[in-house]
């Protein structure tokens, strides 16, 4: 199964094995990674599963669609590499993916 590393704002790392087909948000919730609230459960409605994709992975992860992009616009400290983790699907090409979490969601 693809491995994903989540790095909390304080630097704490969580490496989880994620099933292909679920989202990067779901893999975090399933493995109790703190810092991803995902209030809407993955409906791209709340922007509380914001992550920064490690620049080395930006190409493979891809860019957000228009709806997600405008949600990100209003997330806490959006950056060029911001994504909503509910909109990234785990697949074997993403084995080794590294994402960093913002200081808070909201």
């Amino acid at each position: 199964m693809p491995k994903i590393t989540y790095i909390e704002h304080n630097g704490k790392e969580h490496v989880v094995e994620a099933e292909a087909g679920i989202s990067v948000m779901e893999a975090a919730v399933k493995n109790m990674v703190p810092g991803i609230d995902a209030d809407c459960g993955g409906a791209c409605a709340c922007a509380t599963c914001h992550v920064y994709v490690d620049p080395a992975w930006s190409g493979k992860v891809g860019k957000p669609e228009a709806m997600e992009e405008s949600m990100l616009d209003f997330a806490h400290e959006p950056k060029e590499n911001s994504r909503l983790s509910c909109q990234i699907t785990v697949k074997k090409e993403l084995d080794g993916l590294v994402v960093r979490l913002p200081e808070f969601q909201g």
């Binding site: 109790m32 409906a43 405008s70 209003f74």
Partner: protein
């Protein structure tokens, strides 16, 4: 209230000072979104006593919104609905008891009795019993094929009908009715929606939004009947037709009733707790009994933003109110006064709402309804009450920060105004 109960506890401790300290126990009635959140928030606030959570259903706490959408359409396995993995309950020592309905709360003895006859004492209790669907009582309402939607079991029962062909009659054009209508059309079913009011989403949205969704559904082939009152259903064992008050008969193979939900207050009422359109709570999510809290769809709370009591049926409300309840059950004094928000996905259109528009004296439309990206801003005496944003998450995000504050209708109506400038 809280002070008084702390004093009582102190007195009790002083009186029985020689006894070893008892482990405290928090009991949560209801294993839904609010129950699960409250358990987590209790632990986050440092509560180290026992937590026992009773759920009526056999599933662990799960998300309900997909039940009318992705899950109903068979695009999501059940496990993906679960809010937390089972390891979460083990790690946080949350004794989750599914399929264990509660029969009674005894406030004098501070105990809860389950339907199978177990009695368990609590120090703090949370009522998070939700709001089950209102049921019809008309002739034929008990026929097979007449469905409601609240639980995974309900969605599981409805799913095969979507692929069975024929026609489904949907009673009520609220969120549930319209979301199921969209799912059913996607599955290729013929759909008739009956709505008593003269517009859809009448209870929750303004006229512009209603008109947009009426066209959206009709464009997708839904036979939408406004001002149409159901009289009864016909059928021998299975439902075969819906008969309107006008006498018209609509043949169908299935019916979905979405005519609102009623807060589940039976336990609270029997325990003589204060009721006010749901279980009454103050701004601390505390009921009229200082050791008992309530959160989620079953509870009403005082809203400072709206200067009245609100009872909300929404996931964000359940989460935020349960955070407050959990923190306060652990000894905190958190206050709940968040602006409510909602979302609804129908076809490829996303509606995001913040606030409650009821009572608005002015509405402003921004954007282009024909382009299917616009927002409706509801004001009352120059203050922003609510915003409905259709495929416009930017407007939604700005509105979330502005709701309750004063807003200028003229600058909102001006397409040149950059919404971002309103919040910076």
């Amino acid at each position: 209230m809280r002070k008084k109960s702390a004093l009582t506890a102190l007195t009790r401790a002083a009186r029985f000072g020689n006894e070893p300290p008892m482990t405290k126990r928090a009991i949560i009635i209801g294993a839904g979104q609010a129950g699960a959140q409250a358990a987590q928030s209790l632990r986050q606030a440092g509560f180290d006593g026992e937590i026992v959570m009773f759920g009526e259903e056999t599933e662990p706490p799960y998300q309900r919104p997909p039940l009318s959408k992705a899950y109903l359409q068979g695009e999501l396995e059940k496990e993906r609905l679960y809010l937390r993995p089972s390891a979460f309950y083990e790690q946080h020592k949350i004794d989750l008891r599914c399929g264990a309905p509660v029969a009674r709360i005894d406030r004098a003895a501070k105990t809860v009795a389950t339907k199978v006859g177990e009695t368990l004492a609590y120090d703090k209790l949370l009522i998070a019993t939700g709001a089950p669907p209102r049921r019809l009582t008309c002739q034929g309402a008990d026929l097979k094929g007449v469905h409601y939607l609240r639980t995974t079991a309900d969605s599981d029962a409805l799913r095969p009908l979507l692929s069975a062909g024929g026609r489904i009659v949907i009673v009520g054009a609220g969120y549930i009715g319209l979301e199921v209508a969209a799912s059913a059309r996607k599955a290729g079913l013929e759909v008739t929606v009956l709505e008593m009011a003269d517009r859809v989403l009448a209870r929750v949205a303004g006229k512009e939004i209603s008109a947009f969704y009426e066209k959206l559904h009709r464009d997708h082939g839904v036979d939408l009947r406004l001002g149409a009152a159901l009289d009864h259903f016909e059928g021998t064992r299975l439902v075969e037709a819906a008969v309107l008050k006008s006498g018209e008969k609509i043949a169908c193979n299935a019916v979905l009733v979405g005519v609102g939900a009623a807060p589940s207050t039976a336990l609270a009422e029997a325990a003589d707790l204060r009721i006010a359109n749901g279980v009454w709570t103050d701004e601390h999510a505390q009921t009229s009994d200082p050791d008992i809290y309530a959160a989620g769809d079953c509870a009403s709370h005082p809203s400072q933003i709206y200067e009245r009591r609100l009872r909300l049926e929404s996931v964000p409300n359940a989460i935020e109110q349960a955070k407050v309840a959990g923190a306060n059950m652990a000894g905190g004094s958190a206050v709940y006064d968040a602006a409510p928000w909602f979302w609804s996905d129908q076809y490829d259109v996303k509606l995001q709402t913040v606030g409650v528009s009821e009572g608005a004296d002015e509405t402003v439309l921004r954007g282009d309804t024909a382009a299917r990206k616009f927002s409706v801003w509801y004001l009352q005496r120059g203050r922003l009450l609510a915003v409905d944003a259709v495929n416009d998450p930017g407007a939604f995000a700005v509105a979330k920060r502005l709701v309750g504050k004063s807003a200028d209708a003229k600058s909102l109506a001006d397409p040149v105004t950059d919404l971002k400038s309103l919040v910076s």
